[in-house]
């Protein structure tokens, strides 16, 4: 019986490895992850603006219909978000409507972050407890959703938007949605 005790670490590791490996094994055939929400209307939500910044607007489902838009989930504590920030700003400069969902962030921290790095977002919803991110199927920050004029999620970018993704995915998609 005592001998079995020594096998516990190996068995635990096996269990963890299996838990992690199974989904990967199933998914490895495709580079692009399907999102459960693709081509479905964005989940109902209403988020308040960032506390202490009266000049900014919150974000709700109704804001997503009428024209194509980009919803970027970000956080001040997330380094990849900072890395992709110039791309997000460029989208706003090119005239696209960019909204933000601020993921699990203290209001002063995100305020400071926006002051420092610029605020390209037309509206920002403060998702302090990540409840909306959960509905949207956000697995990590940053993630970016491309929304058509009927408020449906059409495409999703997981992870930071690189210049390549910007040029090869986001721009073509947004031009398509704007037609």
């Amino acid at each position: 019986m005592r001998k079995l005790g020594y096998a516990v670490p190996a068995l635990l590791f096996l269990a963890i490895a299996l838990l992690f490996a199974t989904p990967f094994a199933l998914r490895l055939d495709s580079h692009i992850l399907p999102s459960a929400l693709i081509d479905l209307p964005a989940p109902e939500f209403a988020l308040p603006p960032i506390e202490g910044r009266p000049q900014t607007l919150g974000l709700a489902t109704a804001d997503l219909s009428g024209k194509p838009s980009i919803v970027n989930v970000f956080a001040s504590w997330c380094v990849p978000c900072l890395a992709e920030h110039p791309m997000i700003s460029r989208l706003a400069e090119e005239g696209f409507t960019v909204y933000g969902i601020d993921h699990r962030d203290p209001p002063d921290a995100v305020g400071a972050w926006l002051d420092r790095n610029g605020n390209p977002y037309a509206r920002i919803g403060a998702d302090r407890d990540a409840s909306v991110s959960i509905d949207w199927g956000v697995t990590g920050v940053p993630e970016t959703f491309l929304i058509d004029r009927k408020g449906r999620i059409r495409h999703k970018i997981v992870g930071p938007m690189t210049p390549d993704i910007f040029a090869e995915e986001v721009l073509p998609w947004m031009r398509e949605l704007a037609r």
């Binding site: 490895a17 990967f24 990849p80 990590g140």
Partner: protein, 672 residues
Amino acid sequence: MERGVGQAMIVELGHFALVLGLMVALVQAWLPLLGAARGDRALMAVAVPAAQTQALLLLIAFFALMHAFVVSDFSVANVFNNSHTAKPLLYKVAGTWASHEGSMLLWVLILALFGAAVASFGRNLPPELKARALAVQGMIALAFLAFIVFTSNPFARIDPAPLEGRDLNPLLQDPGLAFHPPLLYLGYVGFSMAFSFAAAALIEGRIDAAWARWVRPWTLAAWACLTGGIALGSWWAYYELGWGGWWFWDPVENASFMPWLLGTALLHSAIVVEKRDTLRAWTILLAILTFSLSLMGTFLVRSGVLTSVHTFAADPARGLFILGILVIAIGGSLTLFAIRAPTLKSGGLFAPISREGGLLLNNLLLAAAAATVFIGTLYPLLIDALSQGGDKVSVGPPFFNATFVPIMIPLLLALAVGPMLAWKRGNLSAAFRRLAPAAAAAMAVTLLAFLLAPRGPVLAPFGLGLAAWLVVGGLMTLVERTGLFAVTVSQSWARLIGLPRGAFGLALAHAGIGIVVAGISGSAWQEEHIVSLKTGERLTIAGTVLSFVAVTEGDGQNYQYLRGEFVQLRGERILGQMWPERRSYPVTRTGTTEAAIDTSVLGDLYLVLGEGDESGAYTVRAYFNPLAPWMWIGALIMMFGGFVSLTDTRYRVGAPARAPSRAAVAAAAAAE
């Protein structure tokens, strides 16, 4: 064109050396093992030249890549993606390991250098142990080199070569971050040595005090480097990210913190193996787990899988390779453990109140702390992986504050007591008597903190009290061992000089934690002001007036800057000037903020220049971070303590066992 051809040759030479290194690793991974199994000395001896050749080849590869960075050879994809001709030289050199590919090369180079050190200086190691440990090192090198050569080749070319590079992410162009990865890797790879020795001991079926004496210096060196690496990373986050935070419990930080916690436990449990010849299987397990976490730290951070599982799927070849290496290394070693550990002779039981009892408590609490961080880090990923993207959870600082902190407090309280207990049978009340000065200091500091800073969180003064307990408790170990106040000063002095370096290392490392705790507690009193300010206006923080004098623009080597000029005043007396900056890097179209930090013993005045508006007002954020510099000074002291212990002749790698000097014998006798 002559020069161009020469450069091309150097890159090819590096690539060739890398592939050759892979071949050598293949030899090193199994011939010595076979030799040890057959008792064939000649085969076992292959390990030594193999390890040395390996190190030489990887040095060639590494410097070839560095050369490509320094001369900005953009025909190399890695250089093109991470460098630029206008980049300062320091960051061209550091660019060698800033990318995924380069950092992997650095990792395996450090591994090879350590292996060569064991091969060259480990003459008094038992030949079987040496051959097997080097073979395990060879296997690790084989895995890494195959990963580099097949999925992450740093020497991959672009044809035609671009004229200019894409530049390095400006956040990474920073002296703190230039040295952060090498230190971290020295730590991670150092633990590979403990792992290799553990695996070798399991294959051999023998572990004894001599084994522990061999493992300890490597663990100690790894621990000291990792301490420094983590501190450097935290310091960088503090001054570069621009809101005065220094630890975010984010997965990338946790990935380096977990091996540190378990490595600290390993460091202490190896002492028990060495002195009391017990806790053997546990120590082996710790060695395996510490390195397993280091591997995860290396791979998962670089692959980005910790921020989002999906990064794995983004590059299936790499993801699968990483998964494979992790499963073989961790699963393989744990299986070996499951089979062989029961055959290890188990040591005797021991009294709970004793030095070894204290070290066991340290181990249990550190392991629990590591498990907490592990769960907090991987749980969200696990839920995500299991639910196929359905359910999501997020684990943040509240989780860690509620679970990690309660484990650390008893650990820190016991930390001062442990070294006061004797081996085999300790006397708790005597230990507390000896610690009376530490307890008095703790109470005095707590009271003083309550009186001086009545506002603020209740726990913070207790944190400072705990810090005093640790610092004075750490120093009391030296007082105790030198018999200061009990014998004459000159006698104490003689004993102090005769003390083994390890005693100083212990006192420094333990006191260093106290200083870190003080720094952490101080942050509870942080003061913050965010205002919109025009030039000529003032703001007041922590009794200091900051007058906003001017804003200037200019060009740095590869960026443009906007610099605010502030004058610090107390009353009308000028104390100094501060220049917070915003930089923008045209090549990557990104910017950074450079906070102006004025450091004093009491804390940091931290100033950040934000965006300006049409009216000429700028958002200015000013913080006063009490005792913040203490955190890094404390970590530096801990690291220094580790290195001081390392110079202890008892642990010198490869030094023949020398008779200790007479003074040391006397001191040791006095201390027992």
